[in-house]
């Protein structure tokens, strides 16, 4: 936390996006998280991603639950919509919002505690429903806000700052997402922006539920020896399976496709991603293989990062539930609120 606010002064030659905005136009309030928190770096990556995609701030909705991670929406895009819900209940709020206004770009920011403990049921059902949103878990292996208790993503055998050993097995959100039918599953690391920003951009462009588990060290309670979510451990054990580059549709020709083996993946929402194969020994579109591969590598203590599974074209909640295309907010008042006669008729039908 800093005493003075980040001054408004900016670099006079700052780049502008297609909307004529600079990165600074996507900033939010001053972070009140501990200095050095991984969550803040994810905020920085998010700002870069939405800036580069030229998303109009007023077309974004940021949603979260409770936790340090869930405070993130306050720290970027202060002119976007936002909803800070109850602990673990963000998916329900997001479902409601998306149902009535499918036109907004939904960004959910949650934590490992928020999504894998109290909110695990909501999280799984949001994937099953295939809500059209980017869903981030800022994963630090602890309940940061309540002072560092182990969370459900803490690895068995890892130790807390005071030395207690965690004996329960971890729930891996990526394995869970693959199993729950999610169409876009990735893992990033707050300390590797070169990888994270393209993943975020791809997730934002994916139609349907895009889940990214971002390892995000808690500098205060979980950055010690014995932690498996520290900066040092993650850097030493991170295993990027592919080099990810997000290429917006109009820039496709510029892509570096010639080098080595690569796989172009078209995204339903427009655009494509180019994957340069580093070590992937499976087909990114095969759910079973992806699950087996991940499970095996992680069993050896590796932190596998990158785009892990992708299946495009699945029907999202809007299609599945046959919801109207026009957001309720855009309906003329007479249609939105057709009056007492229409209500009486509806009630009659239900009698």
């Amino acid at each position: 936390m800093s005493y003075i606010a980040r001054p408004k002064v900016s670099h006079p030659a700052l780049a502008r996006n297609d909307l004529g905005l600079t990165m600074r136009d996507y900033e939010g309030g001053m972070s009140t998280l501990c200095a050095g928190c991984g969550h803040d770096s994810i905020t920085g990556s998010l700002i870069q991603a939405v800036f580069e995609l030229s998303i109009p701030p007023h077309r974004m909705a940021k949603l979260s639950g409770i936790g340090c991670s869930s405070k993130t929406p306050a720290y970027f895009a202060s002119s976007s919509h936002g909803f800070n819900s109850v602990h673990g209940r963000m998916p329900s709020v997001a479902t409601g919002a998306a149902a009535v206004n499918g036109d907004l770009q939904y960004i959910g920011v949650s934590g490992d505690g928020d999504s894998l403990s109290i909110g695990i049921g909501q999280f799984v059902h949001a994937m099953r429903r295939n809500l059209n949103m980017l869903y981030l878990i800022e994963d630090n292996g602890v309940y940061g806000l309540t002072k560092g208790q182990f969370s459900a993503s803490a690895d068995a055998g890892s130790t807390a700052k005071r030395g207690e050993v965690n004996e329960q097995p971890a729930i891996d959100p990526c394995l869970l997402a693959i199993a729950a039918g999610c169409g876009f599953v990735a893992r990033g690391f707050s300390g590797d922006r070169a990888q994270l920003v393209p993943l975020l951009k791809a997730g934002l462009s994916h139609r349907g539920f895009a889940m990214i588990d971002v390892i995000s060290p808690c500098v205060t309670f979980n950055d010690h020896e014995g932690s498996t979510k520290s900066y040092r451990f993650t850097r030493e054990n991170a295993f990027p399976i592919d080099h990810t580059d997000f290429i917006p549709p109009e820039a496709e020709i510029k892509a570096d496709i010639g080098r080595g083996e690569s796989q172009r993946v078209e995204l339903h929402g427009g655009g494509s991603i180019l994957l340069r194969k580093l070590a992937r020994e499976y087909d990114i579109g095969d759910r079973g293989e992806a699950y087996r591969y991940l499970d095996a590598r992680q069993g050896k203590g590796e932190v596998v990062t990158g785009l892990l599974f992708l299946q495009e074209g699945g029907a999202d909640m809007h299609e599945l539930s046959r919801l109207g295309e026009t957001p309720l907010a855009d309906l003329p008042y007479g249609r939105l609120c057709p009056g007492p006669d229409a209500l009486a008729e509806l009630q009659n039908r239900l009698r």
Binding site: P7, L14, G36, D40, R232
Partner: protein, 619 residues
């Protein structure tokens, strides 16, 4: 790139743009902070150490610091550094007891100082406290050089000049007014001096030898004309005046003409705007007084009828300007006659040494300029030194002062039989600026205030007399506001690579995108890969050693850092820290005691004095 060597005093010195831009290395941000605290006397004394004439320079300095000031790159206008200096002088109160003093007992060495301009006065300021016997020869009846004879009193009041000169002259300088040196050979052979300093300026105004030039009495050489006005020999001028040339001398000539009664004053420029030599602020001040600046007119001839000047013929110029903004080609597109009653030539000055014999070991180059060493200021004859405009041609007061400081060191070493080229190097102190968790020893919050405008005497009043000062100076309130605009460039960001955990907190918080963590590379290519490309090649990159976790490097582009300290506040491991740098500049008194400058932190109150006592024992 190699990791930056921050132990080299030049590295952090260069970050303090104003101090780096100041020929005398005035510690600008420190004196601005002292002003902000209301410590005007301390601010004055700190200035005096390096620039000797704060009240004079606070009014008329050429201020190379201001175009250099970082604030001018971050937004458009630099801090009003020069005018803040004047505030320190205006509000300082009595500082007499803090000025250097000459010891009663002399050191037995005699030095002749030729010319009583700012260069010689600076040498006197530095050597008198060391016990030297100083004899100052001056051609004119009053001391001060061009500061008195040419810089008009409406810019520099005579009392201000006299007061600061007196601070030096009263240290027992043997000032011999009206005694120009007519023969250097005679002085060297019969004067009995251990060393001689030549500070005679560049006294010869340039001529414009066009047809008609010498057929009339109404064409004047600018610097001679200004001198006649300054000494009261001239108090009127014709109604219509043309000034030829558009440098700072031209600005003084046109404004002085208005005060002598001219009604229509035109400054005739050969080139377009943007190619003028005059500083922007001097042009502004002249135009405020309704002087007309006529561009693209090249003088062709003086039209004189029966000994009376009728006007001048000019060629109308056209220029092709290339992409770099330089003149690529020029041509004459016609001619124009402009009527006038008097013409003042303000097209430059040269040095002139008719009184220095050419067979006494003092060499001159093909342009009749003396051969002078750029570090020691010694001529080709040992013991004879040059400084100020006399050394390398016309410059300005602050350069003359710096020459004076350096020549004083050389003269001292020469007189003590020490090798003059072996000089004490400059040093650099770094002092912690952290006072508490979110507390720094300086005002780190960026203040978006714009530059304070200087109040001027009304147009109606200022022409009533020749010596009504136009600028009124800042009030304490204006000064306090302006002081907050300073970015404290001397509060340095200092990086400790082994502590960094590469969390990106500093990179994200920096409001001006100075910081990047990236794989190392060659400078040219690295500059393009930064968070914001570093395209100002005049500003260095600060590159760390390899970071412990990934082997990447932390790179800081110094260009636009506003020294807000947020990087240091956000850093969880204190890898970034804010530390105050203090350049330690040695003067003759440090050479004399063989004790390098200590810096303010270790000096006892009252601060920033010039240590006369300390020197007395050594002499």
């Amino acid at each position: 790139m190699q990791p930056t060597d921050i132990r080299n005093p030049d590295y952090f010195h260069r970050v303090v743009d104003c101090q780096w831009g100041c020929p005398a290395h005035t510690d600008v941000p420190e004196y601005i902070r002292l002003i902000a605290q209301g410590r005007y006397a301390d601010a004055y004394m700190l200035n005096r150490q390096s620039n000797v004439f704060p009240a004079i320079l606070g009014r008329v300095c050429d201020r190379p610091c201001e175009p250099a000031c970082r604030r001018g790159r971050v937004e458009d206008k630099p801090v009003a550094i020069c005018r803040l200096k004047r505030v320190a002088a205006d509000l300082r109160g009595d500082i007499d007891h803090r000025l250097p003093q000459a010891p009663d007992e002399k050191n037995g060495k005699r030095v002749a100082l030729i010319g009583a301009g700012c260069a010689s006065l600076t040498v006197a300021n530095d050597l008198a406290p060391l016990g030297y016997e100083l004899v100052m020869y001056e051609l004119l009846d009053k001391p001060g050089g061009l500061m008195r004879s040419n810089i008009p009193a409406f810019r520099l009041p005579v009392e201000v000049l006299d007061e600061e000169m007196d601070q030096i002259l009263r240290m027992g300088i043997d000032l011999r007014l009206g005694q120009g040196v007519a023969s250097m050979k005679d002085l060297l052979d019969n004067g009995g001096y251990d060393a001689v300093f030549v500070g005679t300026g560049a006294p010869k105004g340039k001529e414009l030898n066009l047809p008609g030039r010498h057929d009339t009495q109404s064409v004047h050489i600018g610097i001679e004309w200004l001198e006649s006005v300054a000494f009261g020999h001239l108090d009127s001028i014709g109604e219509r005046v043309l000034i030829i040339g558009v440098g700072n001398t031209a600005m003084d000539c046109c404004r002085t003409s208005l005060r002598l009664g001219a009604k229509d004053v035109k400054v005739m420029a050969r080139k377009p705007r943007g190619f003028f030599k005059a500083s922007d602020w001097e042009l502004e001040d002249a135009e405020e007084e309704r002087v007309e600046i006529v561009v693209n007119h090249s003088p062709k001839e003086f039209v004189v009828e029966g000994g009376k000047l009728k006007g001048m013929v000019f060629e109308l110029m056209e220029y092709d300007i290339d992409e770099a903004g330089k003149i690529a080609a020029s041509r004459v597109a016609g001619e124009q006659f402009i009527p006038c009653d008097e013409v003042i030539l303000a097209i430059g000055q040269d040095t002139a040494f008719p009184w220095v014999e050419r067979d006494i070991g003092i060499e001159f180059d093909q342009w009749e300029v003396p051969v002078v060493d750029r570090v020691t200021y010694q001529s080709t004859r040992a013991g004879v030194f040059f400084g100020g405009d006399a050394a390398f041609g016309p410059e300005n007061i602050i350069w003359a002062v710096e020459h004076g400081h350096q020549a004083a060191i050389s003269i001292h070493k020469h007189c003590q039989g020490e090798p003059i080229a072996e000089r004490m190097p400059a040093g650099m102190n770094l002092l912690a600026a952290k006072m508490g968790i979110h507390e720094w020893s300086y005002s780190n919050d960026y203040d978006a205030a714009s530059r304070r405008a200087m109040q001027h005497m009304s147009l109606e009043k200022r022409f009533r007399k020749l010596d009504i000062e136009v600028e009124l100076g800042f009030t304490p309130e204006q000064a306090a506001r302006e002081a907050e605009r300073c970015l404290n460039c001397d509060i340095q960001t200092v990086f400790e690579a082994p502590l960094c955990i590469e969390c990106d907190a500093c990179v994200d918080i920096c409001p001006v995108h100075c910081l990047t963590i990236a794989p190392n590379g060659e400078e040219e290519e690295l500059r393009e890969r930064l968070t914001a490309p570093a395209r100002n090649l005049d500003q260095p990159l600060y590159v760390s050693a390899e970071l412990p976790q990934t082997g990447r490097v932390m790179v800081k582009d110094e260009d636009l850092c506003v020294h807000c300290g947020l990087c240091a506040e956000r850093c969880p491991t204190a890898a970034w820290d804010m530390q105050k740098s203090e350049l330690l500049v040695p003067y003759a008194r440090h050479e004399a005691t063989a004790r390098p400058p200590m810096g303010s932190a270790r000096r006892k109150e009252p601060q920033f004095d010039e240590g006369a006592g300390q020197v007395r024992s050594a002499a």
